[in-house]
Amino acid sequence: MRTLTKLPGSPNAEADVASESAHARKAQVGRNKGDGPLARDVTHDQGQGNASHSRQHESAIKHVTGRAAYIDDMPAPADALHVALGWSPVAHGRLTRLELERVKASPGVVDVITFVDIPGHTDVGPIFPGDPLFVDDAISYLGQCLFAVAADSHKAARFAVTQAGIEIDERPASLDPVAAAEREEFVRPTHVQESGDWQQVLEGAPHVLAGEQFVGGQEHFYLEGQACLVAPTEDEGVIVYTSNQHPSETQKLVAEVLDIPFHAVTVETRRMGGGFGGKETQASPWACIAAIIARRTGRTTRIRLPRAEDMRATGKRHPFHNRYRLGFDDQGVLLGGDITVIGDCGYSPDLSEAIVDRAMFHADNAYSLGQVRVTGQRARTHTASNTAFRGFGGPQGMMVIEAAMDDIARQVGEDPLTVRKRNLYRAGRDITHYGQRVEQLTLLHDIVSQLEESSDYWARRQAIRQYNAKSPIIKKGLALTPVKFGISFTAKHLNQAGALLHVYTDGSVMINHGGTEMGQGLHTKVCQVVARELGLDMDQVRISATRTDKVPNTSPTAASSGADLNGMAAKDAASQLRERLLDFAATHFNAEQGGLDREGLRLENGTLIAGDGPDAKRIPWGELVQAAYLGRISLSAKGFYSTPLIHYDRETAKGRPFYYYAHGASVSEVSVDTLSGEYQVTRVDILHDVGDSLNPAIDIGQVEGGFIQGMGWLTTEELKWNEAGRLVSDGPATYKIPAFGDLPEVFNVALMQGHPNSQASIYRSKAVGEPPFMLAISVWSALRDALSSLTDYHKSPALDTPATPERVLLAAESLRQAAVHGTDADDSE
């Protein structure tokens, strides 16, 4: 017989259990069953180490000691191969000759593969085809993969690549998405959302304003580049270790490329050194290539893209061209109009269908648009295929309406905040242009008014106006912008998750789920959920790597949904196990006296408690587990969750694509040197809605990190291609993400209290990965505010993004010129 581990601690070591916490948790459990909005009745802890605590990241100690292993840190056999890739040197053309003899003869080279060496599928497009693993003959962007070299060292492989003879019949590259859209060169069909008679509104509106803007893309700049390690297995398959947000899809693609069943491929992801969307679809090709080589050579194979290659080969946040034509009344309240968003998708669909959809879903941000048409176009250009990035098109869509809010405010001579507030969704104006009702209607009003007050908006507004009137060169700007962001995958089937929970006989718990950890604290939150459900300390719950052989057919960790979906699946598994153990305990313990009262049984602080008060019976968790094992009760459970309620009909362009909305608002203040274009963000105040936070420390980390990343997108992060289609900002020397000194001197971040999610999400929390990113729009708006002061706030300056010092300076110059020559430098009619 199996011997059981001796357990530490005496049975009654922890006698004092806070009984309110039990009540609180019961109340909580009850609440989660309901659907309606509830007041927040539990504001603090539910027992040690459980959910709602600011627990440190599960890997924090490993991070700071260097023990946390990323893909390239994993040991591999001494004969492991290193792969370097050969890239297209032009953006568009036909590959006429690929001479690889000298590559093969280069020192250390073991294998060289091209298109013809792919055993199975040659296209690795995630949803729609269009992404060949290697170029066959059509070249669609500079940096597209032509061939792969495996050698016994990384240097040898990289050197061998330079020995290739490549001949290409080069064609002119199409790099302008607006021109491409005019020529109707699209990667997917155009989609239109319409509500009401927008044409008539435009004809009859007292005021009509039109504007146009370019919103730049963004490189993910995950600190750990694309990387994978693939080992052949003893049958026909492979095991793939990859820095990857979507292991299940990589499993599928690797199997298809190798032409083997899915069960022959196991994909494992322990952690990523950052993902941000860049490893949702774009981590797969490297795994497929390494898998082919691993199978051909029988050797473990490693791929790690050098930074510049990573930046050229992989897609980015979509740049957008947005246009609006909107009618409004004398108060600046929108009546309706027409909005077009054109996403620059790069050469293939990738996820662009859903990304441009999301831009369209967020073209209203927090405002009721009235009767409106929103059109989304997906332009095809000769650049890498643009992909998911935190916000997934939402930020680009919001930019158009935030621009309009500023422009309308200047037109009607009001403060932009006043106009924004007048336009917020409110009773009677609570249906979006795609037909979803906005449920927590007052929440955003509350957030804005609390923030207005805590940030002292109006007093500062006055001080800034006075300052600007006197200061000839330095101009200050201030802006408050809200965020309303829809939570759920817009592809309905992705809104599902699974979890696998094991309890071992020493009482330790292992949880696996389909989500991946990229720094967002998902694993920490899921451990907290399990600990809370089982009444354990976090230390007793461990999470191991995400593996396709533990939880199958998972969705990507994306759309901010990681904790919502996987947390729920883990909760399902844990509560099943808890109920099973309690059922067992009820009959097993105290059997002579007819067992324990099942109703009064609960797990708290590592103890099974029966009954109340001083007579309560307490059985340590470990003892319970061992008894259950001996009683032949299964100590393993699998959980599942699918999001209720959601649907969207692309035919009618109506539905409820989002389970709920997450909200927030921010106020930014900037100082701009109008002679040089240099500026500083001096103060930022944020109030953000995460429902009832699962882990305030992690959530605040997401809010702050998202904000700064968003600020980088709108200010210094400039992607530049030359006329030949070569990305010239291809490394951190030329592509500038925010650095330490860009952190605003005053940075007040708070989570909105007292507003649990109105939907029955995990413990009434809300998703937090993406929504805060868009809080940074206030920085851009504040820059425009500062510039607008050059015209005494009469004009709204054109300011494309990223608003680099160059763009800010040139905008300032043009406003000054206009003042001198009396011409109109305004971008709006």
């Binding site: 600011s54 440190q56 990241h57 890997s59 924090a60 100690i61 490993k62 991070h63 700071v64 000691t65 260097g66 023990r67 946390a68 990323y70 390239d72 840190d73 700049f221 995950y222 600190l223 750990e224 050194g273 950052g274 941000f276 510049a308 200061s471 060169i473 330095i474 720094g519 967002q520 002679l675 040089s676 274009g677 500083q680 980390g701 702050e704 990190g705 904000f707 700064i708 210094t716 400039e718 010239v728 900002s729 490394g731 951190p732 020397a733 030329t734 993400i737 925010p738 650095a739 330490f740 000194g741 860009d742 952190l743 001197e745 940075f747 010092p805 160059e806 300076l809 040139l810 110059e813």
Partner: protein, 503 residues
């Protein structure tokens, strides 16, 4: 490559002999172009130090190097292991993220990072921990308040894509409240002495190693001799420019002469007419002189690269590299600096104006090297240095302006207006200088100078800025100069530039 960790003293010049986290390590057959990061992650199996870019820009590879000081202790500074030659570890104490904790007890830098929730994905974390470690060490030996500027300078070279830096700032401020745990190697009082004696021996035996290797001369004489024997060998000082050739362009670097330990090139000498700065003096060592004597130049250093780069990079390397967007050449032009070139054929002195010939071409002969840079002293001279770049910290200039002049009876004299980023070489703009020379700093004179500037300069458009922006900005910097000279500042003393950018 092979690695040993013994105490024998075989004199193999290609062997790198150093201390790693308190333990003596000897690594044989390390190629000259191997970086410290490759050495650590490869043969030494220390994968805690990460590679994020291999170009010195992200700081994920930050490690600390302890060098023996005159007072018998070890002085630690941060470096980017990805672009530091492995051979520069010779005789030093290298500290990596693996070497900080004491068993399970975390170093204050680590403990503060955990407590402040300052790691998310954790990939930048080892580098950040090392920058904090050095900040903590510096604080122990030379305590000073943690001002925003000090924190920026300590952490500006470490990018973090996840956290937004607020918790990292908190961790820096909170380190001092952590229990004073230190690694076991720090208990060993003999370590600094051992490192110092290893450094002496190693330097003795690597002197004059054979070609095809990495040679580290210690004297001017030896350097001249090496330049005679191997005129084609590349010189390396801080490697902060040179190493990118191997990591980014895969060019071979198989024959190197390291000037960083040549005694004569490491001196700063004060003379009545000015200062001779040895070409191999790093920015970090130069900073005190600049702060005291050329404050505008000193302040530029806060926006020059990052701490990691300033700890290794040299003025000599910046001048020899002759990049049109290098930050120091325009300042040296404005200061009327001189260069001392040296080599087997003897030394020669030249004004810096004569040094830059064409794009990345200089007056330096193949067998020559820069020995020193002379910074002239002048009581009356005024200097302004303004750098424009996309990001305030650790970015390369789109435009760098260095203006020097003196005021004599209300008129400007000895006006020198120099720019970087405005042509293929760093240069002065004589017509604009002439427009100001002998004039009052009034609007008319400056209007003429600006016209001359626009006439004479035709900058490029590139990834850092368009030609139009560069021209407008350069001319506006002249306007800024006028405004800052305006004795009755517009209205009631309103600023004409942002404090954080002021030089």
């Amino acid at each position: 490559m092979s690695v040993a960790s013994s105490n024998n003293n075989v004199a193999d010049p290609a062997m790198i002999d150093f201390y790693l986290n308190g333990k003596r390590r000897q690594c044989a057959d390390i190629p000259p172009d191997c970086s410290m990061l490759e050495l650590l992650r490869g043969p030494l199996g220390h994968t805690g130090t990460k590679e994020g870019c291999a170009s010195g820009d992200c700081g994920a590879c930050t490690v600390a190097i302890g060098e023996p000081t005159a007072d018998g202790s070890l002085n630690y500074h941060t470096v980017n292991a990805c672009i530091t030659p492995a051979h520069q570890a010779q005789g030093a104490h290298l500290v990596t993220v693996e070497g900080l904790s004491r068993g399970d007890a975390l170093h204050p830098a680590q403990a503060a990072m955990v407590e402040c929730h300052a790691s998310q994905c954790g990939f930048c974390t080892p580098g950040i921990v090392m920058s904090l470690f050095v900040l903590h060490e510096t604080q122990r030996t030379r305590p000073a308040p943690f001002t925003q500027q000090r924190l920026e300078s300590a952490l500006g070279g470490n990018l973090c894509r996840c956290t937004g830096y607020r918790p990292i700032r908190d961790a820096a401020l909170q380190m001092a409240d952590q229990p004073d745990t230190h690694p076991t190697w720090a208990d060993d009082p003999s370590l600094p002495g051992a490192v110092a004696s290893l450094c002496r021996d190693v330097m003795g035996r690597t002197e004059g190693a054979s070609p095809g290797h990495y040679t580290i001369p210690r004297s001017l004489e030896a350097l001249r001799e090496l330049k005679r024997e191997r005129p084609e060998a590349r010189l390396v000082a801080g490697a902060t420019d040179l190493w990118l050739e191997t990591t980014q362009q895969l060019k071979p670097l198989d024959d190197l002469i390291d000037v960083s330990r040549v005694e004569e090139l490491n001196r700063v000498e004060a003379h009545p007419e000015g200062w001779w700065v040895g070409a191999a003096v790093t920015y970090s060592r130069l900073a005190p002189l600049l702060d005291a004597e050329f404050p505008a130049f000193g302040r530029l250093l806060h926006r020059f690269a990052s701490m990691q780069i300033r700890n290794r990079g040299t003025l000599g390397g910046n001048v020899a590299n002759a990049s049109p967007i290098g930050d120091c050449p325009p300042v040296l032009l404005a200061l009327d600096a001189r260069l001392l070139l040296d080599g087997p054929d003897g030394e020669r002195d030249m004004p810096i104006d004569a040094f830059f010939l064409d794009y990345k071409q200089t007056a330096l002969k193949a067998n020559e090297f820069i020995r020193g840079i002379f910074l002239p002293r002048s009581e009356a001279r005024q200097l302004k240095v303004w750098k424009l770049s996309k990001r305030r910290e650790d970015d390369i200039s789109a435009v760098l302006a260095a203006f020097a002049w003196r005021l004599e009876d209300g008129v400007m004299r000895d006006v020198r207006l120099a720019f970087g980023g405005m042509a293929a070489i760093p240069l002065r703009v004589p017509a604009a200088e002439a427009a100001l020379e002998g004039q009052k700093p009034d609007e008319a004179a400056f209007a003429e100078a600006k016209r001359a500037l626009r006439r004479e300069l035709s900058p490029m458009s590139d990834v850092r800025g368009s030609a139009e922006y560069r021209l407008v900005a350069a001319s506006n910097l002249l306007e800024r100069l006028r405004l800052s000279l305006d004795m009755i500042p517009t209205d009631n003393g309103m600023e004409v530039m942002l404090d954080a950018y002021a030089h």
